[in-house]
């Protein structure tokens, strides 16, 4: 495996959908390529950051409309 192939297989690798044989080739490449190790680390860090995006605060108006709907729903 070379680096240009690895960057195309990374999603299957991280999603656990890479066939066994390719997974072994992927790991073998990582064991000898420090640059691709950085690449995989960066991708993992990117996914970590995406998962850590704080929930944005919702506008007061939108929230009030929803709370009103909730109270209406509660009244049944």
């Amino acid at each position: 495996m070379d680096c240009i192939e690895l960057v195309e297989l990374i999603t299957d690798y991280l999603e656990g959908t890479l066939p066994h044989h390719d997974r072994e080739r992927f790991n073998a490449h990582l064991s000898e390529c420090p640059y691709c190790v950085i690449y995989v680390d960066q991708m993992r860090a990117t996914l970590g950051a995406l998962g850590a995006i704080p929930a944005e605060s919702i506008s007061d108006a939108a929230k009030q409309t929803l709370l009103h709907a909730f109270r209406e729903w509660k009244r049944g």
Binding site: D2, C3, V7, T11, I53, A55
Partner: protein, 220 residues
């Protein structure tokens, strides 16, 4: 509070059934914006997406009694949004249905990393890095989690092509499993992964550039 941290859905559902407003607020605070981002992949503008999401919350409340917990509450909520957004898009006669966006955004070849960052066929090691990625400084994680970086990350996601934005929002921001996403969107697993791969690769690349630029600005 982040969108994809696991919450105790069981107790939340029980509290909702009891009419506990604070339980509803927890859900709204957590998912509302991710829902808008997802809806935005289907309808023509932000205002319509917000409208679809408001309507979806009513759908959630009204469907709650019938919710059987066969999927997670989160998957169920996002499935409602996707359904309503699709219906709205059809009603509006939006020119590009989601399935066309998927075909468009999965077609052709798209390099995860610019090909000129790799050595060409004449080199001793063709296909290996010519301009390799650079490891982040002392504490790359802390840098990523800074609020400016988070704001930039949000802009990067917003700028993605719509189907890619929808998939990465569901998978990586909201933390849904791949199967629920395929079912809700009606896309094959293969196409879902192509969209996810293209989205993630772009986000990593743009984040890399942003971090390099801000580092350079800080040095000069």
């Amino acid at each position: 509070m982040v969108v994809n941290r696991e919450i105790d859905e069981g107790s939340l559902i029980a509290r909702l059934h009891d009419g506990d407003e604070s339980a509803f607020v927890v859900l709204v605070d957590r998912y509302h914006h991710a829902m808008i981002r997802v809806a935005r992949g289907f309808v023509r503008d932000e205002a319509t997406a917000e409208d679809v999401v408001q309507e979806s919350w009513l759908g959630v409340l009204n469907g709650l009694a019938a919710f059987e917990g066969r999927s997670s509450l989160k998957s169920w909520i996002f499935a409602i949004v996707i359904n309503r957004a699709k219906t709205r898009a059809t009603r509006e006669g939006r020119s590009t249905p989601f399935s066309s966006l998927v075909s468009l955004e999965t077609s052709g070849r798209e390099a995860a990393v610019a090909p000129d960052r790799f050595l060409d066929a004449t080199a001793k090691w063709p296909g290996h890095w010519a301009q390799p990625p650079v490891a982040g400084g002392d504490d790359p994680e802390a840098r990523l989690l800074r609020s400016e970086t988070m704001a930039q990350l949000r802009r990067i996601v917003d700028d993605l092509p719509p189907a890619q934005r929808t998939v990465i929002t569901l998978r990586d921001i909201a933390g849904q499993d791949a199967e629920s996403i395929c079912n809700a969107l009606g896309v094959s697993e293969t196409n879902m992964r192509v969209l996810l791969h293209r989205a993630r690769s772009k986000v990593r690349g743009r984040l890399e550039r942003y971090l390099a630029d801000t580092e350079e600005a800080a040095r000069s």
